[in-house]
């Protein structure tokens, strides 16, 4: 039974990584850039929701919607101010800018909301219970975990449908393949990339709320470490691949918890990254990533 308990802990941690990784992978898949500020947009979303619910006593759903709205706008503004001027710059310059934006957001949050930790309220209680029990209480799964996984799957399906079937989604894929050719075909590349960031940041807000519901301490650096782990998860699953992000996130969470439980709490991170290295050696594009042959 303890194995099942650890598995559930792993899934709940992994589902958090997965939902963050979805945002990473989507922006990477379309704009071909690593948005290292993603983790910090998550933090901003969590703060907005915290203040809406804790200070203004709005219902949680309003808080979540506000967080999504603010993060979407923030994503567009960041893209317009920081990334758009570098559209034709080498990708290294964009990467450094993203790290800069990440620090900027962290420090701005520190000024705005101070650094003393906040404790995020518990949203997901149904019938007064924070979790559901099975087998007479030997196994318990928290509602936050269940909701996170359901949200992950919904987002994954919606994104797959959106990029595969809709006109705007097709425009996005066209931009990701070849910006120049897409422009010649009459696609507004700038607007499409802005939209990608808007969606990615909106997802970040949802991830922020779920992250802080599961692990309720909120500080200006809350997003950075899960952000890096989620980035790892996205690479693990195959960066750019939407189902890959979900799979990578879940696996990363499960490996981390299992390594802690059965090998060593001291070495768990080392083991996680060792697994990542092995996977990348065997499958350089990640688990579900497609190897794209560059035509010369």
């Amino acid at each position: 039974m303890s194995f099942l308990n650890f598995l559930i802990s792993g899934i709940s941690l992994g589902s958090i990584y997965a939902i963050i990784a979805l945002g990473y992978t989507m922006v990477y898949g379309i704009a071909k850039m690593l948005n290292f500020a993603h983790g910090d947009v998550i933090m901003v979303g969590a703060y907005i929701c915290f203040y809406a619910v804790f200070s203004f006593e709005l219902p949680p759903i309003v808080g979540i919607l506000m967080a999504i709205a603010v993060c979407t706008v923030l994503g567009i503004v960041i893209e317009k101010l920081a990334y758009k001027p570098l559209r034709s710059a080498p990708s290294l310059a964009v990467l450094i800018t993203a790290i800069g934006v990440s620090y900027f957001l962290q420090n701005a949050a520190q000024l705005l909301w101070t650094s003393s930790p906040k404790v995020f309220p518990r949203f997901f209680n149904f019938g007064g219970q924070a979790s559901v029990s099975f087998f007479g209480g030997q196994l318990s799964v928290s509602w936050t975990t269940i909701i996170t996984i359901i949200t992950c799957i919904i987002i994954m399906l919606a994104l797959t449908w959106f990029t595969g079937k809709t006109k705007r989604g097709k425009a996005m894929r066209a931009c990701s393949e070849d910006k120049g050719a897409a422009q010649l075909m009459g696609i507004n590349v700038d607007a499409t990339i802005s939209m990608t960031f808007a969606i990615g940041s909106g997802l970040a807000a949802i991830a922020g709320v779920l992250l802080c519901s599961a692990y309720p301490t909120l500080v200006p650096t809350t997003g950075s470490m899960p952000g890096i782990k989620a980035f790892t998860a996205a690479v693990f699953g195959g960066i750019g691949s939407i189902p890959g992000a979900l799979l990578g996130g879940l696996l990363l969470g499960i490996i981390e918890i299992m390594a802690k439980a059965y090998i060593s709490t001291q070495l768990s991170d080392a083991i996680v990254f060792a697994v990542l290295i092995i996977v990348l050696l065997v499958k350089p594009a990640g688990l579900l990533g497609k190897r794209v042959n560059e035509k010369v």
């Binding site: 303890s2 308990n5 650890f6 802990s9 709940s12 941690l13 915290f50 804790f54 101010l81 920081a82 758009k84 001027p85 900027f104 420090n107 701005a108 520190q110 000024l111 101070t114 650094s115 003393s116 930790p117 906040k118 404790v119 995020f120 309220p121 924070a130 979790s131 209480g137 318990s140 928290s142 599961a214 692990y215 309720p216 301490t217 500080v219 650096t221 470490m225 899960p226 782990k229 981390e256 918890i257 802690k260 439980a261 709490t265 001291q266 768990s268 991170d269």
Partner: protein, 406 residues
């Protein structure tokens, strides 16, 4: 052209940010300056124009960042003591704190900033990692340091002019194990500690040693680090399955709050025993204090103590800063008074160089006995290594406030 404009705008935005940050700290400096200067003028008129220069005391601490609760508390506590002493006339102090965000590199910059300002006596750093970095500079520059709360041994080791007001980490580990054994609290103990933090490791190591000597059984010994400080289900499950009836938490309050929350969600209710880093958990916005019900900790300071000094300090602190002072505030307050006592005894004057002050203070600190808010009635003494000797107090959280265990 458009790009240039945007680049310009970005530069302006960055500059604004920088000045905004700077503006805030300078405004707080202004506030403290003006408060001390008003008192200066008040005393000078009272004393008949004795405008002796002030001793410049500097320190670094996390005024922002995840451990800012300690830095701000220490700054506030020290400021209260400085204001009280300045109001007495006689020796005058000027206090300046710089932010180190609990980062050793920033601490060095912060230290240099206060040194350039003209610091003659130092309050070291508030937390251990930065404390180890700045104490080396204190030693090299021959600036006497008395840190309120940087508790690692490496902070004072091999430096004759760096002293501690708090217990050292090994001391805390040992005292905790002794306390648990003497009060017969538990026989099976689990420890969860942070293995990338000198503070946590220092306490853990001596705790284990002492616990073994006293026949306490450590059934579970698990760790976490900065990178995985969110999920503690495995560590808690390990403690639970090994039948631990007490979990020892040598860590700061932020991960501790997550551990308490997750243990509660698991329905696991052992006793929890913390150290001084646990102090602050009750003042986290949004924290459900019922989770911390029954959590015990050893701390040198009890805000509920009924002696006159403590009550006056608590009252003043609550009036000025709107919250109950923790032990960091009390330690910093004691630091200023200990320095005051030593300066008076050695008849130092503010025009002395930092080397002269350093020698005079070392001599005083290794011989004097100080009575402050922290420790018990037996007074506080220091040995030649700068280690403090005082007795800790056991506290337990009941109904959201600290209550003395004895």
């Amino acid at each position: 052209m458009k790009k240039k404009i945007i680049a310009m705008l970005l530069c302006v935005a960055m500059l604004l940010c920088v000045t905004a940050c700077g503006g805030e700290s300078s405004s707080s400096d202004d506030a403290s300056d003006s408060s001390s200067s008003t008192e200066d003028s008040g005393t000078s008129s009272g004393e008949g124009g004795d405008t002796a220069a002030a001793f410049k005391i500097g320190g670094t601490g996390p005024l922002t960042g995840s451990t800012s609760i300690y830095g701000i508390a220490a700054q506030n506590g020290a400021q209260i003591a400085v204001d009280e002493i300045n109001a007495l006339g006689g020796i005058q102090f000027e206090l300046r704190y710089e932010d180190d965000t609990n980062d050793p590199e920033k601490a060095v910059n912060a230290y240099n900033a206060v040194k350039d300002w003209g610091m003659q006596i130092s309050l070291g750093s508030v937390t251990s990692k930065p404390g180890e970095a700045t104490s080396i500079l204190n030693y090299e520059d021959r600036i006497f340091a008395l840190t309120p709360s940087a508790s690692s041994v490496a902070t004072v080791e091999g430096k004759d002019n760096v002293f501690q007001m708090c217990f050292t980490d090994p001391n805390q580990g040992m005292a905790s194990a002794q306390y648990i054994a003497e009060q017969d609290m538990a026989t099976k103990i689990a420890i969860i500690w942070k293995n990338d933090d000198v503070y946590s490791k220092g306490i853990h190591d001596t705790f284990v040693e002492e616990a073994n000597e006293r026949g306490l059984e450590i059934v579970s010994d698990t760790t976490f680090a900065d990178g995985n400080a969110t999920d503690f289900s495995v560590q808690l499950a390990d403690a639970q399955s090994n039948g631990a009836d007490l979990i020892f938490l040598p860590m700061y309050y932020e991960p501790a709050s997550l551990i308490l929350t997750q243990a509660n969600a698991m329905g696991y209710t052992p006793k929890f025993f913390g150290v001084d880093g646990m102090d602050g958990i009750l003042t986290m916005p949004g924290f459900d204090a019922s989770l911390a019900e029954g959590v015990m900790l050893l701390t040198p300071f009890n805000a509920d103590a009924d002696d006159e000094k403590t009550q006056a300090f608590v009252e003043k602190y609550e009036e000025l800063y709107g919250e109950t002072p923790n032990q960091f505030a009390a330690d910093a307050y004691d630091c200023i008074y200990a320095i005051y006592q030593a300066l008076e005894a050695a008849e130092c004057t503010p025009d002395m160089s930092n080397e002269e002050l350093c020698d005079a203070l070392i001599e005083q600190f290794t011989t004097m006995t100080f009575e402050g808010l922290t420790g018990d009635g037996e007074g506080i003494t220091w040995d030649e290594d700068g280690l403090v000797s005082k007795n800790p107090k056991g506290m337990v959280i009941e109904d959201g406030v600290y209550v003395g265990l004895d």
